[in-house]
C-alpha cells in the first residue's frame, strides 16, 4: 500500500490499521530526513497549507509548522485571537475566504468537537485535525504509538494505561482508537469523576487504583489535568489528585518491572509526574516531541500526494 484510504485526517477512528502502518513507515523516512545536516525535502514546494488555530497551542502548532516547512510547503498562520471570528464570521466563511487565496490544505484546531469533520464535508480542501475539543487529536495519538513502536519494537500486544483526565482529553480518545487498531490492550485510570461512564464499551479496562494499573502495563501515558476545560470541581484538590494519581520516582522504582512513561505535554511538573520521572531514562517525552515532527510530515506528505496537480 502506498497511499492512504482517507482524503482527510479527521480522526483515528476513520483510519485503517494499514493506514497507520503506512504513516509509520513514511515517518521512519522523515525521521532520517530531520536528522540530516539539511533537514528539508522539496516534495511540497507547490503546496500551500493554512494553520488555523481557533484554540491556543504551542507545541502542536510549532510541530506542524516545522513539519510543513521541512516539506518545503508555503504556510499561512491564523489564530482566532486576531481574526474576524471575533466579528461573528462563521467557520465555513472563514475557511472559504482563506481557500480563495489558493490554499491546498488546512490544519485546524478548534474547541468544538466534530468541527474538523464538518469542515471536511463543506470545503474543498484537505483537512488535518489538530484537535477538536474533547473529541480527537489524531496526530498526537499517532506520534504516541510511533514512539511506543520505536521504544518497544511494536505496539501489538502491548499493555498501555492512560492515566488522568480521560473525560476532557482528546488525546485519550484518539490513543484508545489508535492503540486498539494496532492490537494493543488499553486501560484507563483516574478518579471516577474524570472517566466517562460508558468508556468500557470501547473495549478498554477501567481501573481507579494507580498502583494496580501501573503493575499491569508496559507503558503509562500520563495525561495533563485540563483545568481550563473543567467547569465544576471533579476532585477535592490538586494536591489530593497528585497524592492518588501523581507518579514520582520512588513510586516508579517500587514497580516490579520497568515501564515506559509518556506525557503528551505540556507537563504540570509535580502534578501528574514529578521532574525526576519526566527526566528519567524510562521517560520518552522528548522522543515524542521529535517524533511528532516526523509523523506530521508523513501525514501531510501522504495527504498531499492525493491532491491532483493542475496541469
Amino acid at each position: 500500500m502506498t497511499s492512504l484510504s482517507v482524503n482527510h485526517l479527521v480522526g483515528i477512528k476513520e483510519l485503517s490499521k494499514e493506514d497507520i502502518a503506512l504513516i509509520f513507515q513514511t515517518a521512519d523516512n522523515f525521521k532520517s530526513v530531520i536528522n540530516r545536516p539539511i533537514k528539508k525535502v522539496p516534495s511540497l514546494r507547490d503546496i500551500t497549507i493554512a494553520n488555523l488555530f481557533f484554540e491556543n497551542s504551542t507545541r502542536t502548532r510549532l510541530s506542524f509548522e516545522l513539519a510543513e516547512k521541512r516539506l518545503s510547503a508555503d504556510i499561512v498562520n491564523f489564530s482566532a485571537a486576531s481574526s474576524s471570528v471575533k466579528k461573528g464570521e462563521t467557520l465555513i466563511d472563514t475557511v472559504n475566504n482563506i481557500l480563495a487565496m489558493k490554499v491546498d490544505m488546512v490544519v485546524m484546531r478548534h474547541p468544538n468537537p466534530g468541527s474538523a469533520k464538518f469542515l471536511s464535508e463543506h470545503v474543498d480542501s484537505r483537512i488535518v485535525n489538530a484537535g477538536d475539543g474533547a473529541h480527537e487529536h489524531p496526530t498526537q495519538a499517532l506520534l504516541d504509538s510511533y514512539s511506543i513502536r520505536e521504544k518497544l519494537g511494536s505496539v501489538e500486544g502491548k499493555k498501555v494505561v492512560i492515566v488522568g483526565d480521560i473525560s476532557h482529553s482528546r488525546v485519550a480518545l484518539s490513543n484508545i482508537f489508535c492503540l486498539q487498531k494496532q492490537g494493543a490492550e488499553v486501560m484507563v485510570c483516574g478518579p471516577a469523576t474524570l472517566i466517562p461512564k460508558y468508556i468500557h464499551e470501547l473495549g478498554v479496562k477501567v481501573e481507579h487504583d494507580l498502583r494496580k494499573a501501573l503493575e499491569w502495563c508496559d507503558v503509562a501515558n500520563m495525561l495533563r489535568i485540563q483545568l481550563e476545560r473543567m467547569d465544576v470541581n471533579y476532585f477535592p484538590s490538586l494536591r489530593e489528585y497528585t497524592m492518588l494519581y501523581g507518579l514520582d520516582k520512588e513510586f516508579l522504582d517500587t514497580l516490579s518491572k520497568k515501564i515506559v512513561v509518556m506525557h503528551p505535554g505540556p507537563i504540570n511538573r509535580g502534578v501528574e509526574i514529578t521532574s525526576d520521572v519526566a527526566d528519567s531514562d524510562q521517560s520518552i517525552i522528548l522522543d515524542q516531541v521529535e517524533n511528532g515532527v516526523a509523523v506530521r510530515m508523513a501525514v501531510i506528505y501522504l495527504l498531499a500526494q492525493k491532491i491532483k496537480r493542475e496541469e
Partner: protein
C-alpha cells in the same frame, strides 16, 4: 512480449569487473571516495561493486551508502501510483568527498538529478561521478551523462531493461530487454 538478453551471467560478471578496474584506475586507494547506490535497484549493483572492489584492492574500508530519492523526485502528485520511499543509509561524511553514484539503468536522467539534490542534504561533495550498468542512450530528458558504463543499449520507450540479479537457483544474474 519478446525478450532479448543484453548480458548473460558471464558477460555481467565481466562487465562489473571492468567497471571496478576503471574505478580503481581513477580512485586508487578510495581514501577520499565514497560509493552511493541509488535505491532501490542501484544499491544492489553498488553492493556487488563494493564487494568486488574490496576483493581486487584488499582495502577493507571502502565507504558504501544507499540513497533514497523519493522526496526529491520531480513527479510527486503526477504519478497514478505513488512511489514508496526506501531507506537512506549514509553513515559517513560526503563533504569534500568524491562521490560515485551507482545505478542499474540510466534512462531519462531524472532520478540522477533527484539524487544530486538529495546528496546535498548530507554536505557538499567535491565531485559526483555516475556509474551505470546499462545506459539507454537517446532516452535522456536532462543533460546527464555517465562516466562509467557497463553497456550502451538502444531501446525504444515500449521496451524495458530488466536487471535480474537472482536468475534461477544458482543466483546467476542477467540483463534482458523486454518488449511489451
Amino acid at each position: 512480449m519478446g525478450e532479448k538478453i543484453v548480458f548473460n551471467h558471464k558477460e555481467l560478471d565481466l562487465s562489473v569487473n571492468r567497471l571496478c578496474w576503471q574505478l580503481i584506475e581513477n580512485h586508487s586507494d578510495f581514501s577520499n571516495t565514497v560509493l552511493i547506490g541509488l535505491q532501490p535497484r542501484g544499491f544492489r549493483l553498488a553492493q556487488k561493486i563494493h564487494l568486488k572492489l574490496k576483493e581486487l584492492t584488499s582495502i577493507a574500508d571502502i565507504s558504501l551508502g544507499s540513497l533514497d530519492i523519493t522526496f526529491f523526485r520531480d513527479d510527486f502528485r503526477r504519478r497514478e501510483d505513488p512511489v514508496a520511499p526506501n531507506q537512506t543509509d549514509i553513515n559517513f561524511l560526503v563533504e569534500g568527498k568524491n562521490v560515485i553514484f551507482i545505478d542499474d539503468v540510466l534512462y531519462t536522467g531524472r532520478s540522477i538529478r533527484a539524487g544530486m539534490d538529495a546528496i546535498n542534504s548530507f554536505g557538499r561533495p567535491k565531485q559526483i561521478e555516475l556509474l551505470v550498468l546499462i545506459d539507454r542512450r537517446f532516452s535522456r530528458e536532462l543533460p546527464i551523462e555517465p562516466k562509467y558504463v557497463g553497456k550502451t543499449v538502444d531501446a525504444i520507450d515500449t521496451e524495458k531493461v530488466v536487471v535480474d540479479w537472482d536468475q534461477g537457483l544458482d543466483h546467476k544474474g542477467r540483463v534482458s530487454l523486454i518488449r511489451e
